[in-house]
Symmetry: C2
Subunit: 108 residues, 2 copies
């Protein structure tokens, strides 16, 4: 599995660790990202939209502050969110504990 | 999130707990299952094939014994497997600790 560090991802803060569980070329199914994502305190993925695709986030550890189309909500361990089809979203870790997400980007 | 208990799933042993993170009708993307799956010791999902789809398993906790087309291998925490396109697979928990998987079935 390949681990990638993205700095200021989508104009967010700090850095994001993306562990690619399977890369697009390794699968035939209609997904372009299957990853475990880690954000330290103060780190975020900035607001961005998904067009003809959908992103599923599932919180493995920690707590995140998500926004979708300007609305803010808290995602705790075991919580999930689906966003896409033109909606904008962002996610931030404001807590001391590491935020770990399972993320899948599904194609339409 | 809906939790389903399946007994002797795919002719396997014991029971399997499937927590549906999102059901097919809740998403537009090309997936028909996004779930957290729990197997206690001695429980298994029996051998079955996926045709025009692919299943991704990621081990969240515990250890599983997977078979794919007759070949056996051990999946530990953080390990992943992708199977489908006609291949047969099964998974079993032979250990005391609960086996927890993140599973996604992607359509072609």
């Amino acid at each position: 599995m390949e681990t990638e560090i993205r700095k200021r991802m989508r104009e967010g803060s700090g850095e994001v660790e993306i562990q690619h569980i399977f890369k697009k070329k390794e699968i035939k199914g209609k997904a372009r990202l299957i990853a475990r994502i880690k954000l330290k305190q103060g780190c975020s993925i900035g607001s961005h939209a998904h067009g003809q695709e959908e992103e599923v986030f599932y919180v493995l550890k920690g707590e995140g502050v998500a926004t979708e189309n300007g609305e803010t909500f808290i995602l705790k361990e075991g919580d999930a969110m689906v966003t896409g089809g033109g909606s904008s979203h962002a996610i931030e870790n404001q807590k001391k504990n590491l935020l770990e997400l399972f993320a899948v980007i599904l194609l339409f």
